[in-house]
Structure formats: C-alpha cells, structure tokens
Symmetry: C2
Subunit: 148 residues, 2 copies
DNA sequence: ACTCAAAGTTAGCTTTGGCTAAATTACTTA
DNA sequence: TAAGTAATTTAGCCAAAGCTAACTTTGAGT
C-alpha cells in the first residue's frame, strides 16, 4: 500500500537509457507487426487482404495503408504490385505467426488472471509489443498452471 | 499448447478499431508521461531537473528535450522560461505521481510473478502505458496476495 | 568585474504515420 | 464491349519526435 514516493533504487543511467531506446525501437516495429498479423488474418478469413479492409480494421484512411504497405514491401514481408493482391512472403508469414502466438499468449494470460475478455483483448494490443521472451515464458507457464 | 492458428472469435470491427485508436492515443501521451515522471524524480533526487540531465537519462539529444518541454508547457504540466529552471505545475505533479504509482504497480506485479527485477523494470517501461484500470486493479490484487 | 566553458535554445533537416483531394485502374453489369 | 462505380494509388499537406550545427545565455572562477 505504501509505495515509496520516488524511485528508490536508481538503476544505472545506462540501463535506463537502454530501456527507453528499446521502447522507441519497439514502437518502430509495432506497425509492421500489426499489419502483417492483420493481413494473415484477412487472407485466412476472406481469401485476400485488401487495402480497403485493412484500412477499415485499423480505423485509418486508405492512403495511409498504401503508404505503410510500401514499407512492408521494402522490408520483404509482402509481395505487392500496384492494384494487385497482397501476398505474404515466407518471412512475412513467419512474423505473422509469431506475432499471433505472442498476442494469444498475452490475451490468455490476462484472462487467466481474471481480467474480462474484452479488456484483455484491448490491453493485449498495446502490451504485446513490449513483452520480453522471459516474461512471455512466465505468462505461458502461469496460464498453463491455472487451467490444466 | 495448441493455439488456433488464426483469430477465431473475431470481435466486432468497431471494437477492434477502437482498440487500435486507443493504442495510437496512448502513444501520444507516453512522451508526456515519461517526461513528467522523470522531471519529478530529478527534482526529488538532485533538487532540479535540467534539460541536460533529462537528455542524458532518455538517451536523446538536448534540443529534442527543449522541443518536448515546449509541449509539456503548452499542456500546462510544467512552468519553464528559457534558461530558467523547470517546475512542475500542480497538474504535472499529480500526473507524475499517478504515473509513478502505475509504474511501480506493474514492476511489482511482474516481480511477484517471478520475473527478474531487471527484466521487470525493462518490460514495465513499455507496458505501463497500455494497462487499463481494470488490469491495474488485478495486478495490485495479485501482488498483494503473493506477499502479504 | 570579466571571461569563458558549459548549458540551453534556435534553425533547419529527416522520418514516420496520419490526413484529404485528385487521378488512375479494375471489375461488373447492362 | 463499353460505361460506370468502387478500389487503389499519387500528390501534397501536417505534426511528432528524432538529429546536427550554430548561436545565446548563464554563472563560476580568476
């Protein structure tokens, strides 16, 4: 109940710097990960991932999607020629798959903790990009123990 | 162990849109929250929060700090005249305090879960901006139960 | 009281990810 | 098969948050 009002154990400045840098780095990959995951979903669900649908899901204008797809293509995660359909590359598929696993791990963990499914889904969306491998392992173990 | 390979329960599109929007919104307040919290820390630790020190802690160039302080001032979270010292407003102090509480809640929860302190500290930095009140309450309850 | 180094700011550039409006392409259907 | 509509892209704008280089101010130490 009684938290010390200020950071009492000031880990080294370098360590803190590394943390902030890694948060900034994570932000740069968030967009890519969210897109690849949604594209995989849409292909699975409807047979194709159209910019229109991507825009609608993200709540964003279509030209924004076009612009971001260029980045995915630059990073060799999708195949995409103007006006043609979007395909994931092998690398894109793998990234999508690991993102989805991570997403589910976080959601299931939060639910196992007792958080309502809709809030779990919501919070997972923001949290998933910032969870280290160690934390992910602990999440999985916890969920597994809770409902064997 | 056997996760469905795709999102099986496709919550409504609107709900998903709201989630992505709220993640984008959270990103916009992250900087503000991190700054206010660090400024409070520095004032407490050293008596003042100098742009130099803020830059060093965040691993960022000084002019970046100057620019961001302008935003904090615009949002009435700090008092700051050029070349003069930085003060938190009442609103700034309150924001700093609630951010710090939230940060500690997340760190302590992760540690209670069994995650190593340094990784807990690291992950919390990214996670803290994306946890809802409901999740925060559950985190607190869990930590409290673990070590009474 | 002056000087000068350190701190802080300004100017101006870059990238990222939003947007709208306008142009282009593809597809359907009459 | 030709036209019209819907989808997509292009062009060009904005704001945020990073950077370097150059300038200004402060204040500490002779």
């Amino acid at each position: 109940m009684t938290n010390p009002p200020f950071n009492s154990a000031p880990r080294s400045v370098q360590e803190q710097v590394r943390q902030f840098e890694s948060v900034r780095t994570a932000h740069q990959s968030e967009m890519v990960e969210d897109y690849v995951e949604l594209i995989a979903d849409l292909i699975h669900l409807t047979g194709s991932a159209r910019p229109k649908d991507i825009a609608e899901r993200f709540g964003v204008a279509q030209p924004t999607v076009t612009k971001n797809l260029a980045r995915l293509k630059r990073e060799k995660l999708i195949l995409h020629e103007p006006y043609r359909s979007i395909q994931l590359t092998e690398e894109g598929r793998q990234l999508a798959s690991s993102c989805r696993k991570r997403h589910r791990t976080v959601v299931e963990f939060l639910i196992a903790l007792g958080i309502s499914p809709s809030v779990a889904e919501h919070d997972a969306e923001g949290i998933e990009h910032h969870v280290s491998d160690e934390t992910l392992r602990v999440f999985r173990a916890f969920t597994h123990d809770k409902k064997p």
